[in-house]
Symmetry: C2
Subunit: 417 residues, 2 copies
């Protein structure tokens, strides 16, 4: 049985995953790569062809002897999945086809300011528009991956935090969005989704890596041997709440000195606002829902040679680097990927300073040189990962899936106030 | 293929594991609990009986209808495994039978002061004595699990750190011990082994937990859904090197403010030594190889009502609690086990303060109340875990094992100087 809590993938799901990653494969190659028997593969492939998910596309001519092998590929138009990444200041929507190709996308204002009811209504409208303009029928949408910051209860589809404001706590996010769209909705953590997205893009040269996700807040994800680390309930790698030495700033979590409070985009914006000349010069305004926009202005000012902006960003990057040292020391990693919209312009600066901290302080620095990479899709990796999560865990949309995913949450709405 | 780097367990190994944990099981129960087919079970069990590892011990009379099922159990005397935990100040050796029962044990001085060559020679002598007095023939010993602090190269059987002194770095530990004993030797991390040991003892009420291991140094381990988290190369959960807010003490790792340097047993001993009256009163001497002995004296003084000793231990425990907050926030845990010889007497004090820090600061504190447990075998869990690692990854000693474990390391000795 699949469970959205675990993200385990069925036999059919594994076949589809391999074909999605590799393009075309023969049955023999599927058996080799999955470790499953030829009989299991034959049976699973027959079902997938009957369901219209996979098709034969010719023969492998490379074989020196024996019958040429028939090659299989996904039917890219069999199904579609939507990924939505909601943050306080930005919302990103992507539509992927069944082969994982991005066929449509949109970037919108975030959820800050408006409550969850209005945000969900607006999201549903935007998704409907996007599907219409991409000529994708609603009945061909396997599901929606809704990607937010944590902590979350993924089974029930609710946030377990009163961020950005108390109305979001326990609001039935996936249930309401599912009602409006008429498709199943899965909840996923932003950093986890970004790690999925990076893995899928093939941008990380190793099967084991950590990821720092920076939007308005800071999260993290870890992939080991190609599998996401889920912990107890997938609320993992809260790197934004690693306490920094010398930190004293109060954090939304109730503690003091957390990396996010000391060095996250909001902290950098506040530091700029504290220097009135600088704020004026680079146009930083400080509205809560405009944090990423302000942060991007600071990054562009640095890029244009503003030394003060650069100094503040470098201080932030060094702090994020210190938190990354704790990440790699606890999870035994040597590769860290920087993902999320905050790295759009400032990524190269952060990469340099995070790498310097790791090279200086990671326990394994003598064993293997730490590597820091910038995401190939800083601003869309999480939304893409959300859609991929749907494609991976809801493989066929038929009785085969057994996902236990229903369009309404298992438990009643407990009240958002 | 099994690999000591991964600790994957074969079909036979899974059968043996289930029987080791459950005592007796029928073939049907083995199939149910392992998820394997009846055919696979029948075949595997036949092999295990032929190899003398498993035997039939009667029939299950509980069944209402049908043939009563034949029950299987391990032949406890089929094989034995040795676990050795080496620390700077103590060495613990245990002998387990094939069913995981502890049949002999010894506690000795640690490795501090003497170099690796003499330490290994002494260990080999002690193991030989222990096996002789337990009447276990050398040819019945499946292997030795050698448990040390990290970082390690488990494949090559060497330490990757110059702790306690440079002679240990890259010294062929498992190769030399294997030559002397004539049995394979596997290297394992102390905290990881302790987590195995706790899991086996059934002392932890959840399949997902973190473990803080405190001997002379401080390490950690994480078990998720019954499986150890191994990361890239099993040098994980270095909780002793989480930097504490306000910390400034230089650490052996080259950084400043690490939990181990600020609050580990050596740090507490140094703090006592700085108060001459206190050191005199409770008999703390400060020899490097006597850290745990000194620490135990401080713990006993606290237990006898010494307020100054209590104050220093409480400060240490609060710091360890802060590092534990980072552990649970990154790995998404709600249960932390305290293991290792440093908790022998002071365990209850540490438990109270670590729990208080988690209840106050863990991000998930509102979702589920953090639980802190003291190991059921504070001073032997790691050695037991080392022996269990051998039993689990080297299931039969025949060609079936395919462990790739050889009595000499794969790479030549690179020189210890």
């Amino acid at each position: 049985m699949l469970s959205p809590g675990q993200g385990h993938v069925s036999t059919a799901g594994r076949m589809l995953d391999l074909l999605r990653t590799q393009g075309t494969l023969s049955r023999v190659e599927l058996a080799e790569r999955s470790g499953l028997t030829a009989g299991t593969i034959t049976h699973a492939v027959r079902r997938l062809i009957e369901d219209g998910l996979v098709r034969e596309v010719g023969r492998d001519q490379q074989q020196g002897r024996g019958q040429p092998r028939r090659l299989l590929e996904l039917d890219a138009e069999a199904w579609y999945a939507v990924g939505i990444q909601v943050d306080r200041t930005t919302t990103t929507i992507v539509v992927l086809d069944f082969a994982g190709n991005r066929i449509a996308g949109a970037s919108l204002r975030g959820s800050g300011g408006t409550g969850p009811e209005r945000t969900i209504a607006a999201l549903a409208d935007h998704v409907a528009d996007l599907l219409r303009s991409a000529a994708v029928g609603r009945d061909r949408v396997l599901g929606v991956g809704l990607v937010t910051h944590g902590p979350q209860d993924r089974e029930r589809g609710v946030l377990l935090t009163a961020q950005p404001d108390p109305a979001w706590l326990e609001f039935p996010l996936t249930g309401r969005l599912s009602e409006r769209l008429g498709t199943p909705v899965l909840l996923e953590n932003d950093a986890t989704a970004a790690a999925f997205g990076e893995q899928w893009a093939g941008a990380v040269p190793t099967a084991t890596f950590g990821l720092v996700y920076m939007a308005s807040g800071i999260g993290g994800g870890v992939i080991v041997d190609g599998e996401i680390y889920r912990g107890r309930a997938s609320n993992t790698v809260e790197i934004g709440h690693v306490v920094l030495n010398g930190g004293s700033t109060e954090c939304v979590c109730g503690n003091r000195g957390c990396a996010q409070a000391e060095a996250g985009p909001r902290a950098v914006v506040e530091q700029v606002l504290a220097e009135a000349d600088l704020a004026e010069r680079i146009g930083v305004r400080g509205a809560p829902e405009g944090t990423l926009t302000d942060f991007e202005r600071i990054a562009r000012a640095w890029r244009s040679g503003d030394r003060e902006a650069g100094r503040l960003l470098e201080r932030s990057a060094t702090s994020i680097g210190r938190a990354a040292v704790t990440l790699v020391n606890l999870f035994d990693l040597d590769t860290v990927v920087l993902a999320g919209p905050a790295f759009l312009t400032a990524g190269t600066l952060y990469r340099r300073h995070v790498a310097a901290e790791l090279e200086q302080s990671a326990l394994s620095r003598a064993l293997s040189r730490p590597e820091v990479l910038i995401s190939t899709n800083v601003d869309t990796a999480a939304a893409i990962g959300g859609a991929l999560h749907v494609l991976r865990t809801m493989p066929s949309g038929t009785q085969e899936t057994g996902t236990g995913i229903s369009p309404v949450p298992k438990e009643p709405h407990k009240g958002a106030s």
